[in-house]
Amino acid sequence: MLGTILLTAVRRMKLMTHNMLTSKGMKNVKEGFPLKIQAEEMRNVDIDYDRDFITRMIPKLDWKALVFAAQCVGHKEDLPDTLPEGYENDNELLKRLHHVLLEVI
């Protein structure tokens, strides 16, 4: 619920951004992560696929939070529950991540 309060301040957001958020700063919140999402409307945008860029983003992610968020907005896209070893060579996975992280808003 606290997450909902925070995110009402936002109109559109990519899941990449969502992954960086926490409500820990709010009173009485201990973990504050990941935030639940109530998406009212979703849209897709086209962003050029950049394999190198997306590979560099992955280590910065909180994987569990990403899977949770993707589920919330119905874009799980067969993301595995844990980040597999050797993901940097899995072009299919990278493409799916590119879509989930950057193209859904």
């Binding site: 301040a9 951004t17 958020l21 926490t22 709010m26 009173k27 910065k60």
Partner: protein
């Protein structure tokens, strides 16, 4: 309502109160809920963070019961406590209000429970007298009261500014000498032609006869306060007046707030650093009473009146307990006597007379001369920021946005230097001037102004609304962060430090931060900043400057002794702040800077923005544009007016649309412009470094860039 509905509602109330109790038990495990009535009631959902205050709570409670003895409100908490003289009185109130009645301004009812005790109030506001204060009741008769109240014709405007004026929050008249609010003192060499009115001779004699003052007062200030008006806390300058300050209340009574400032009044770290807040007493001044401040109450305590419609008053009758009194029009007569010679008080920390003998040797003294207003508490700082930063930006957002496009070259350089795949945060990103330039990085931003965030969001930037003191991001997540022209809007050093600390928190180890703040020093050696230079260039600029004052004065008039601008003071909440004259050097560090709002035209916004697409050649582009742009900015009143930023880079990008917007601007001239005041704390050399030295960072580079102090740092661990 059916039985079932009723039960469902009651279940909801039960659920709500148990949730509130859970919070209480987590916060304050020593306080226990009682099943049976006690003298103390816990109010679970009305506290300082829900915008409830003493007035609204007293109003609610006294509407259904009596015997309220005390209220306890804790900073940062959503709940509060009410204490009564007896169990029965507490029960009456709980039965009537719990789940039924709400405090004013709230849509839901209050949820209450009995508790065995209340916490110690960390900032006790006590109905007590500071030492040296006495209140003489019925000093004048009702008949004399009427006569005195009619002495000043408030409808007629005073013939000179020195005799009186309409201040932002009240009307005022001076007799004998002009009391100058910017400095809280008088010019002793310039007595007013208008001496003490003969009609009050009887009063002056009574003052001396009853021993309130050793000799006749020679300065009188008459203030008229309407309900909702007040006066910021202040101490009348020691060197200007003698020991006694008298204030006669006529018409309505009022609560006067006294705060101890003697322990180092102008040193923020002493006040804010200690956990024990300085004492704060509230004294009710009934109508027709004379309050006499001498000794500590006069020299070491500030006095002020909180602007509000009602006062919470402790009645002497314990059955009625705390009461809420609506304010009425109050006329106050303040009597003072001009001091000749030096002040004899022994408190060097608060005495300006004392400081003079030591010839500005201490750091304290120089700080005071640049900050004539008292440093605000955290709460009033937040209020200044809300009223003079957030609300202003929300109102000027569109206009602000069309005047702010050109990124400052060295900031852009930093953004463009970030390696591929970096996560970049822009704290206080405004209209997104630094967003979307580096395609190689993933950039997010936040700003406290919702209206500016709308503008960013419409351009597809990843932003959200958030205060810079509490960033909604995880720890150690960003590779870099920029914070450009943001923390100079925070009103205390503690808050400025907290903002930088937040920025450091979200940075990765080794991550770099870049901060820009506006500099007090707008001149480096012989070289003036572009901000100052614009003053000289062309007549349009000069006119605009004159225009900016609300109350126009023929020429800027500086009080050389203290380095304070006398022109204008705007009173905001608990503090009075001088108003800066645009395109002049700063006379103090804390002030309000005017922003003249011109409603933007639709045409302008169409041509001004880059979207997410942009090239990397912008740095060079803007540099080569400089010579042209300084010319054009002078022509555009909009831009000449409002630059807290490098004006040379503020011009509109394409010439075509610039001339278009210029025409529009000329048309807009005929309409009266609204002026907003933004709060600024301009930084002195070394101040930014001193903030960073308190944090876990290594300074990579600190520099001066066109009227700004700048720092690049790296998070150490």
């Amino acid at each position: 309502m059916s039985m079932e509905n009723c039960r469902r509602d009651w279940n909801k109330v039960k659920k709500k109160i148990s949730r509130c109790i859970a919070i209480l038990q987590r916060d304050l495990p020593d306080i226990h809920i009682s099943e049976y009535p006690t003298k103390h009631i816990f109010i679970g959902n009305a506290g300082l963070t829900t915008n409830a205050d003493e007035s609204s709570l007293v109003e609610l409670i006294t509407s259904v019961g009596c015997g309220l003895e005390a209220l306890t409100l804790l900073p940062g908490k959503q709940y509060s406590f009410a204490s009564f003289t007896s169990h029965d009185q507490a029960r009456t109130v709980l039965v009537a209000a719990h789940g039924h009645l709400g405090v004013q301004g709230s849509t839901s009812p209050v949820y209450m429970a009995y508790v065995d005790k209340v916490p110690m109030d960390p900032s006790p506001i006590k109905f007590r007298f500071p030492p040296g204060l006495s209140v003489l009741e019925d000093f004048v008769s009702p008949k004399e009261e009427l006569l005195l109240m009619n002495l000043v014709d408030w409808g007629a405007s005073p013939s000179t500014a020195a005799q009186g004026s309409v201040l932002k929050h009240r009307q005022v008249r001076h007799f004998g000498y002009e009391f100058q609010y910017s400095t809280n003192c008088v010019d002793k060499r310039q007595p007013l032609a208008q001496g003490m009115p003969p009609a009050i001779d009887f009063l002056l004699r009574r003052i001396v006869d009853r021993g309130c003052m050793p000799s006749l007062p020679d300065q009188l200030t008459v203030n008229r306060y309407l309900p909702g008006q007040g006066i910021p806390p202040h101490v009348d300058t020691h060197s200007s007046f003698t020991d006694e300050l008298l204030s006669l209340s006529l018409g309505g009574g009022v609560n006067m707030d006294f705060r101890y400032v003697g322990g180092g009044g102008s040193n923020s770290s002493t006040i804010e650093g200690s956990k024990d807040k300085p004492p704060h007493y509230v004294v009710y001044l009934p109508p027709r009473s004379l309050s006499v401040m001498t000794g500590p109450a006069r020299y070491e305590w500030s006095h002020g009146i909180c602007p509000r419609m009602t006062d919470v008053v402790a009645s002497r009758n314990s059955i009625t307990g705390l009461q809420l009194l609506p304010r009425q029009e109050r006329i106050s007569f303040t009597f003072r006597k001009i001091r000749h010679g030096e002040c004899s008080c022994q408190n060097a920390r608060v005495c300006d007379s004392h400081g003079k003998e030591q010839k500005n040797s201490s750091k304290d003294e120089s700080k005071r001369s640049t900050s004539p207003y008292e440093l605000p508490s955290d709460r009033s700082a937040a209020r200044i920021e809300r009223e003079h930063v957030l609300q202003v930006y929300d109102q000027i957002a569109e206009h602000f946005s069309v005047t702010r496009h050109k990124p400052w070259p060295q900031v852009l350089e930093f953004v463009l230097s970030l390696p591929r795949g970096s996560l970049l945060l822009d704290v206080g990103c405004g209209n997104g001037k630094y967003m979307g330039h580096n395609k190689q990085v993933f950039q997010v931003g936040c700003d406290t102004s919702f209206e500016l965030m709308k503008i960013c969001n419409n351009q597809g930037f990843e932003v959200l609304t958030s205060n810079c003191l509490q960033l909604p991001y995880r720890d150690y997540v960003f590779d870099a962060a920029v914070c450009i022209a943001v923390i100079h809007h925070l009103a205390t050093e503690k808050r400025r430090l907290a903002a930088v600390r937040e920025m450091v928190r979200v940075l990765n180890v080794g991550g770099q931060g870049l901060i820009y703040v506006w500099a007090m020093e707008q001149r480096r050696g012989e070289k003036k900043s572009t901000y100052l230079k614009q003053n000289k260039e062309g007549s349009v600029g000069a006119e605009m400057i004159k225009d900016q004052n609300i109350e126009e004065k023929p020429s800027p008039n500086y009080h050389h002794d203290r380095g304070v601008q006398k022109n204008e003071v705007v009173r905001s909440g608990a503090t009075s702040l001088p108003v800066h004259v645009n395109r002049t050097e700063f006379m103090q560090q804390d002030m309000l800077v005017p922003w003249k709002l011109k409603p933007p035209k639709k045409n302008e916004s169409r041509c001004e923005r880059r979207r997410c697409d942009r090239g990397c050649g912008v740095v060079h582009g803007s540099r080569s544009n400089r010579s042209q742009s300084s010319e054009s900015t002078v022509d555009s009143p909009q831009i000449t007016n409002n630059c807290d930023v490098l004006p040379s880079q503020e011009n509109v990008r394409c010439d075509n649309c610039h001339s278009k917007s210029r025409k529009k601007m000329v048309c807009a001239e005929s309409r009266p412009d609204q002026v907003f005041h933004r709060y600024y704390h301009v930084f002195k050399q070394g101040e930014l470094e001193s903030l960073c030295s308190q944090l876990n960072v290594k300074v990579i580079k600190s520099y001066y860039d066109e009227g700004n102090w700048c720092i690049i740092f790296q998070k150490s661990s």
